[in-house]
């Protein structure tokens, strides 16, 4: 394999080789808050172009894990490798620029901006941020990206509404739209269906399915129906450690998972 690769560096074989490497990898990742160990030596991988879920009871370390990945928290130990580069300890803006985007468990948008501006500002973050001379609405490429992101989450019809005036479900989807507008390689969704009605949950599930066709997604979710239907792979966290990992079918049958999580 490596011999073939060295003969022709641009061969499709090498490309496929790179593509099969995990897009995200953590090695012995640990976070301690004082005496409390929120994550202890987590070794974790996300495969390219898959939907990977992290589940676990409250306090299992899911949000802490997300916060580590996106630079909100500095890990106490271990490494995070994203797309072949170490990103441990980078700040959240640097991590965003590398290609990891996230949505938040508690809606985190610009409430006093229009829906369009919420995604437009995210779309312009790749190269136009320091432009002081153009009018912000005159950047055609950015407008197109923003429209595409809104279209993907089904909010194009509400582009001119104030974000604060959207329904809870729509705001949750706007969250995803903002993340998409940064054109990430990995999208991390923190409980995207939290607080949604059944109808909204179903719509968001379909939405994530569509997005997943050309994006790697890491998702924290409590709704088991959503997880089982969407995900290729599931990791179960408990007390800051990995309890089990496998396909939805394997996780459903795993006696230890049933004991700590699914039965309760």
């Amino acid at each position: 394999m490596s011999a073939a690769a060295s003969l022709d560096a641009r061969s499709p074989v090498t490309d496929r080789g790179a593509a099969s490497a995990p897009i995200l990898k953590t090695e012995l990742l640990s976070v301690r808050f004082g005496g409390l160990s929120a994550l202890s030596e987590v070794n974790f991988e996300v495969a390219r172009d898959k939907v990977h879920a992290i589940i676990g009871p409250n306090g299992a370390g899911k949000s802490t894990f997300f916060n580590c990945l996106t630079g909100v928290l500095r890990p106490s130990g271990g490494r995070i490798v994203f797309d072949g580069e170490e990103i441990t300890g980078l700040r959240s803006n640097e991590i965003s620029q590398r290609g990891i985007a996230r949505s938040y468990q508690i809606t985190n948008i610009l409430p006093n901006a229009t829906v369009f501006e919420n995604v437009r500002i995210a779309a312009q973050s790749r190269r136009h941020g320091w432009n002081m001379f153009a009018h912000h609405s005159a950047l055609a490429d950015i407008n197109r990206k923003a429209e595409a992101a809104l279209d993907a989450v089904g909010l194009l019809g509400k582009a001119e509404e104030l974000a604060a005036n959207l329904s809870h479900g729509e705001q949750r989807n706007l969250e995803i739209g903002i993340a998409l507008a940064t054109e990430p390689k990995l999208l991390c969704l923190d409980e995207p269906t939290a607080g949604m009605s059944q109808a909204e949950t179903d719509a968001t599930k379909e939405l994530i399915k569509r997005i997943a066709e050309n994006l790697t997604i890491l998702i924290v979710e409590h709704d088991m129906q959503v997880v089982m239907e969407l995900c290729d792979r599931i990791t179960v966290l408990n007390y800051g450690s990995i309890l089990a990992e496998g396909s939805p079918a394997e996780i459903r049958e795993n006696p230890r998972v049933l004991e700590v999580y699914l039965k309760t």
Binding site: S96, A101, L110, N112, E117, R120, S125, M132, F133
Partner: protein
């Protein structure tokens, strides 16, 4: 009204290019009025109006921080003062005094102060940022007040006004009318630049920081650097106001570096309406006019800050978006 004090009358992103006809019409009308004003006003009020424009520029510069970036600066007296002393230095050292050199050195002084303040204070937020800018401006005040050999200490510096020169085209003494027009040109130009900056992609990042700092960081913006740039730009325009004030009054005095000047600047913003650029100019005009009329009615010793303080409190309670925000809502009704 459920709006927080920092909210704007127009939501972020709703201002599109299509508004430009109304904008330019309004801009031209006000500019024509201000050009014509010195031709009809008596000498005293002509000077007064010029001074209001200068305070307006100072207020507008701090609006970039307060209204658009959401950082309340109590240190604008330092930028204003450094602009003033920079201009004074240029006018005293070079003979014959040169207008453009004064502006250049004034801007350099303000930029130096702004770089210093920006570097140390933008790591902090909210009240901590405000207090830090206040402390830094007081440091500059103490240096200027005590370094008598260079700054003239308590007495300040006195110099003569440079000629109004446009190289190869024009060279004459300033009259109160040409000075007014010169100040108007600088202030109007600054307004157009600041207006464009606030509507640019960069300006939208500043407003995004004001609305939600952590989210702005999460979508990939190095928030500290944007804040530093905002402080620098704001300081530059405040320094420009200081240069104009020095040229108008032919002195630089430490009183203007004292934090009371910064306090007045914040008051102009709140009175006029933050996050509007024009509002702070209106606020400065209102404040200065009220002060002047009170002094004329009750004498120079009248404690004018007491009634103005009451007006300030009433504004915060009843017109949280300031005079301009109120006028805009009233016009839209």
């Amino acid at each position: 009204m459920t709006t927080a004090p920092l909210d704007k009358a127009i939501p972020l992103g709703r201002l599109r290019l299509g508004h430009s006809a109304v904008f330019w019409l309004g801009f031209c009308a006000v500019t024509v009025l201000l050009i014509a004003a010195p031709l009809v006003l008596p000498e005293f009020w002509r000077r007064f109006l010029t001074e209001v424009l200068i305070w307006g520029l100072l207020a507008m510069s701090s609006d970039l921080l307060i209204g658009y970036t959401g950082m309340i600066s109590f240190g604008h007296s330092a930028f204003f003062g450094l602009g003033m002393y920079g201009a004074a230095g240029a006018l005293l050292m070079v003979s014959p005094p040169n207008l453009w050199l004064a502006i250049l050195l004034g801007l350099a002084g303000a930029a130096g102060a702004a770089l210093f303040v920006a570097f140390f204070s933008t790591r902090l937020r909210d009240i901590y940022f405000a207090i830090t800018t206040l402390i830094f401006s007081q440091i500059f005040y103490v240096i200027i007040f005590t370094w008598t050999a260079v700054t003239g200490g308590e007495n300040g510096l006195i110099f003569t006004r440079p000629h109004l020169t446009i190289p190869l085209l024009y060279n004459a003494r300033f009259t109160s009318t040409t000075l007014h027009w010169f100040v108007l040109a600088v202030v109007a130009g600054s307004y157009l630049i600041l207006h464009r900056i606030t509507q640019s992609p960069f300006g939208m990042v500043l407003q995004s920081i004001r609305e939600n700092e952590s989210r702005t960081r999460a979508i990939g913006y190095a928030v500290e650097r944007y804040k530093m740039m905002s402080v620098m730009l704001s300081g530059l325009f405040a320094g420009l106001a200081g240069v104009l004030y020095a040229i108008q009054n032919e002195f630089a005095a430490p009183d203007f570096v004292y934090f009371l000047t910064s306090g007045d600047t914040v008051i102009y913003n709140v009175l006029g309406g933050i996050g509007t650029l024009v509002g702070p100019i209106v606020g400065a005009g209102f404040f200065q006019l009220a002060r002047q009329l009170l002094a004329q009615a009750f004498g120079d010793q009248f404690p004018y800050l007491i009634p103005l303080g009451l007006v300030f409190i009433a504004t915060i309670i009843f017109l949280p978006q300031g005079i301009l925000g109120f006028a805009r809502r009233w016009l839209n009704r």
